[in-house]
């Protein structure tokens, strides 16, 4: 919801979900543990958003440079250039690129609530999580204005801001003192589909076993990822 509001994502109607065309820059994938009895099986949640790969498979296949790698390490989508070949969507292992099959529809008053920092995407182009690039830019600008280094908390994407359990953490990987750098250094850190060599900018922390010291009410092992983190370089 925060993401939808921040990034002017049109409201997905029921038909969109039925047709598998819903646009959700961040989605929570649910997987169920194998169990005969439904009552005993429990859901496991995998927050899924654009991984901002270092070697993104979606980028080189675009014929018009509509998606490319920013010096910050973001995987940027340039809506003006996109012509909608949808090859990038095919080549994304995480299926986190969304295509606008129809023009966006907002209820009457919603149009007054759109975020002025973000364009509304028209029919026929791809879109995806931008890591709230408008917030990143603002944060960098303000830090530079204040003449200080960026620190944790200066920039906060909408999803991280609203997550009540702080399961999503955003920060600068180049700064060894940042929270993300320390978390990435942990043993629990892993990349989803790391063997593809796409060097995702988003990594997950494996959930810790119940039997281990961490007290957690959820059961079973398995890799329930916790915190996507982003690394970024700040220029100047």
């Amino acid at each position: 919801m925060a993401c939808q509001a921040e990034n002017n994502i049109p409201i997905n109607e029921e038909s969109a979900f039925r047709e598998n065309r819903a646009i959700e820059w961040i989605r929570i994938e649910r997987y169920w543990t194998d169990s005969e009895d439904f009552a005993e099986s429990s859901p496991q949640y995998l927050p899924m958003t654009c991984q901002h790969c270092g070697n993104a498979p979606c980028e080189p296949v675009c014929p018009v440079y509509a998606t490319y790698h920013t010096p910050d390490g973001l995987n940027a989508q340039i809506y003006n250039r996109c012509i909608g070949t949808r090859y990038c969507g095919n080549n994304c292992p995480w299926n986190v690129r969304y295509f606008n099959y129809h023009d966006p529809k907002f209820e009457d008053t919603f149009t007054n609530h759109l975020n002025p920092d973000v364009t509304v995407r028209s029919r026929g182009i791809m879109e995806k999580c931008s890591m709230c690039v408008q917030r990143i830019r603002r944060g960098v600008r303000e830090a530079r204005y204040d003449g200080r280094e960026l620190q944790d908390g200066d920039i906060m994407p909408a999803c991280a801001q609203t997550c009540p359990t702080n399961a999503i953490i955003f920060g600068d990987l180049n700064n060894p003192d940042s929270q993300v750098s320390q978390m990435v250094a942990s043993d629990r850190n892993y990349e989803l589909f790391g063997e593809l060599g796409t060097a995702p900018g988003l990594t997950y922390l494996a959930k810790v076993d119940v039997d281990a010291e961490e007290h957690s009410e959820e059961e079973e092992h398995a890799a329930v990822p916790q915190s996507p983190v982003i690394w970024m370089t700040v220029n100047g």
Partner: protein
Amino acid sequence: MAEHAHAGHVAPEITARQTIEDATRRVVSTGAKFATLDIALGVLGAIGLIALVLNLIIEGTGNREAWGYTAIVAGYLMSSVLSAPILAVLLRLTRSDWRRPLSRIAEIQAAAGIVVYILYLPLFFAIPEAEGRFTVWVEWPWGAPGFFSAVVLGLLVFGGYALLYISAIPDFAIVRDRSHDNLPRFERYSRLARGWYGNLRQWSVHRAGLGVLGGAYLILYIWTVSLFFWDFGLSLVPSWRSSVFPGFAAMSSLQTGLALIIVTMYALQRWGGLQDYLTWDYFWSISKLLLTTSLLWFYLWFSEFMIYWYGRKPDEINVLELVMFDVYGLPMLLTFLLNFALPLFILMWNRVRKTIGGPTLVACLVLVGTFIDRLRIFGAAWGVENPFAHEMEADNIPDFLVPSVLDILIVIGSLAAAAFCVRMALRIVPLPSIWEVSGGIGLRVRRQYLNHPVTVIAKPE
């Protein structure tokens, strides 16, 4: 490239009688001329065999690295001597007129098939089982991979001999009929000719038999090469899952077979007294095929390279490092030059294709290049420490496979033995194929058309 219209085809007029004379003379005169060469080849071949046995005793079959070079030379011979008969088969299928003096040269190479099989035997024991690694056999219960390869390879070698023999039966009869002055020879060739006297029925059976056998050989060959290169090469390298690879192996084998034929043609027309039969226009025709296969070589190689380069999965990059860039980078470069770049730039000129020397030079390059390529493929495969690994890890890339003394002896000995087999076959089998060459004479007629002489070629269905 198109050819210049040139003033007619000036093949020397060969009569049927002359063909018979020429071909029988070689068989009849015992060929003391090259006795030294034959002996040398035989000795070298024997040394190779001894080295093979020694290797078996010293290293056993457990140490895979010790058998790398045996695999290399086995793969090489398979790509050269066993693929040469394909040309005869193909040209017969397409009813090409210019096959006639060449088909026997192509078929006779299969005489060396036995060498391939001998080399294969230790490999059969040295190859790790299929279970637990990536192979064509997926989860076949038993026998894979060695057993099936053994069977198809055996069939192939046998098929090569059968093809040679059946195509030569009418010629054996010709030699038989001209050996009444020499009883042992008469008896030997009587046995070989199997009561052939060339009535219509025999000819039609012969024709059908050659057709079926040829087709079977062609299919079997493609299948065997795919299987051998897969099981003994590709699948030993973890992560090397290039599905075009068997096709590449088959194509590069065809290229090598053609090159071998061209080199043999050159030797025969230079020292073997066939200069009237193997004129430049045969080199011209076959060099077009050589050029085509060289282009296809590059094409199939590039389709593999492109996918791996673009896909950029780490394990695929590691495979590329191993077989194309880092460890076997130099062999790859040499192969690229010898099997593709140089043939292309030499043979693209029609003027070069129309000579005898040009195609021969390229053929020699290709023969060398393919050996280096086999070194690359099998060297990389047999140097891998753990073929059961799921993925090629960066710290597990094997080193270049350095040959031991025995390895070198095996390689040299096998090549010599193969040459020796072909030399021996040359003493028995008439060359060129008398029935094909003389059969073609009537079908090629020179006629006057208006003011201009033309060649008319009859195409019996």
